[in-house]
C-alpha cells in the first residue's frame, strides 16, 4: 500500500490546528481571544476542504467565516464590551459535568459505530475508498454551477428569497424601540 505521506501530514496539521484552536476558543478567558481562535479554526477548516479538493469551498469559507463573520462578532463585542470577562468564563453548574459525560458517551458510541462498521464491512470497498479521481478544477466549477443553476435551481431561488427576508428582518429588528416602561 502506497501512502502519500505529504497528504497525511497536511491533513494531520490542519486537523490538529482545528481542534487545538477550537478548544482554545472555548477555554480562553477573553472573548476577543476566543474570537481570534475561532477565526483560526475556520482557516484550518478551509485547509481541510482544500485537502478534499474543494478549493472553491475553501475560498468561500475563508471569505465568509474567516473575514465577514468575525467582523460582525467584533462589532457585537464592541457594542457589548464588558470589563468583567472573567465572570463570564465557563459555567460550573452541574450541566458542565452532565454534558461532558453525555458528549463523552455520544462520542464513544459513535466511534464504536465506526469501529464496528470497519470490522464488519472491511471487505466492502467504499469504506477504504480513496479519492479515485483527482478533481479537475474546471470540472469542479462546472459541477458547482450546474448544481446551482440547473439541479438545485429551485433551492437557489428559495435561498435568495430567504436572504431577502433576512435583510428585511434584520432591519425590522433594528427598528424596534426600547421599551420605556420598566
Amino acid at each position: 500500500m502506497e501512502i502519500d505521506i505529504l497528504k497525511t501530514l497536511i491533513f494531520y496539521g490542519f486537523a490538529g490546528a482545528t481542534l487545538f484552536f477550537a478548544l482554545l476558543s472555548i477555554f480562553s478567558f477573553r472573548i476577543l481571544y476566543s474570537l481570534l481562535s475561532a477565526v483560526c479554526v475556520f482557516f484550518a477548516v478551509a485547509g481541510i476542504y482544500f485537502t478534499l479538493g474543494a478549493d472553491y469551498n475553501a475560498v468561500i469559507q475563508i471569505a465568509i467565516y474567516g473575514i465577514a463573520v468575525p467582523i460582525l462578532f467584533v462589532l457585537a463585542i464592541m457594542f457589548t464590551s464588558d470589563k468583567l470577562d472573567k465572570k463570564t468564563y465557563i459555567t460550573v453548574q452541574p450541566r458542565f459535568f452532565f454534558s461532558f459525560f453525555g458528549l463523552g458517551v455520544l462520542f464513544l458510541s459513535l466511534i464504536y459505530l465506526i469501529i464496528i462498521s470497519l470490522s464488519l464491512n472491511s471487505n466492502i470497498d467504499w469504506v477504504m475508498q480513496k479519492q479515485a479521481v483527482f478533481i479537475n478544477k474546471y470540472q469542479m466549477f462546472k459541477a458547482i454551477s450546474d448544481g446551482f443553476f440547473v439541479d438545485y435551481a429551485l433551492a437557489f431561488e428559495l435561498f435568495s428569497v430567504l436572504l431577502l427576508i433576512v435583510v428585511v428582518g434584520i432591519s425590522t429588528l433594528g427598528l424596534i424601540k426600547e421599551k420605556t416602561d420598566d
Binding site: M1, I3, D4, I5, T8, F11, T18, L19, I26, I31, S34, L35, A38, V41, F42, V45, I48, Y49, L52, A54, Y56, N57, I60, I64, Y65, V69, L72, F73, L75, A76, T80, T88, Y89, I90, T91, R95, S99, F100, L103, L106, L110, I111, V127, Q129, Q131, A132, I135, A143, I144, G147, F148, D151, Y152, F159, L162, L163, V166, L173, E178, K179
Partner: protein, 108 residues
C-alpha cells in the same frame, strides 16, 4: 492496522468532524458568554460542513452535490449569525449583560 492511521480515508474526516461537533456542543452548553455560545454553534455548523464535503469528495466526483450544499450551508450559517447577533443585541439592550445566566426567559 497501523496504516489506517496514515492512509487518510473517509473515516479520518468523519472523526475529525465528530470531535469538532462535540467541542462545539460542549461549548454551547458550558460557555457563559452569549457570544461564545454563538461561536460554538458555528463550530457545530462547520463540522457538519466537513461531513458534506468529505462525503461528496469520496463518493460523488461527478455532480459534487455535497459541495453545492455546503455552500448553501455556509450562507445559511452566515445569515443565522447575522440574525442571532441582531436578536442578541436587542436582548442585550434590556438586560445589559452578556451572561447567559441572566437570560432565563424560558422560565415563566
Amino acid at each position: 492496522m497501523i496504516e489506517l492511521l496514515f492512509d487518510i480515508g473517509l473515516y479520518h474526516y468523519l472523526i475529525l468532524a465528530l470531535i469538532l461537533f462535540s467541542i462545539g456542543f460542549f461549548g454551547a452548553i458550558v460557555a457563559k458568554n452569549m457570544l461564545k455560545v454563538l461561536i460554538s454553534v458555528e463550530f457545530m455548523l462547520t463540522a457538519v460542513n466537513i461531513n458534506f464535503i468529505a462525503f461528496a469528495g469520496f463518493f460523488d466526483n461527478i455532480k459534487l452535490s455535497g459541495f453545492v450544499f455546503s455552500l448553501f450551508y455556509l450562507a445559511v450559517g452566515a445569515v443565522e449569525i447575522a440574525i442571532a447577533l441582531a436578536i442578541f443585541y436587542l436582548m442585550f439592550r434590556t438586560k445589559q449583560s452578556v451572561n447567559t445566566e441572566d437570560y432565563n426567559c424560558g422560565k415563566e
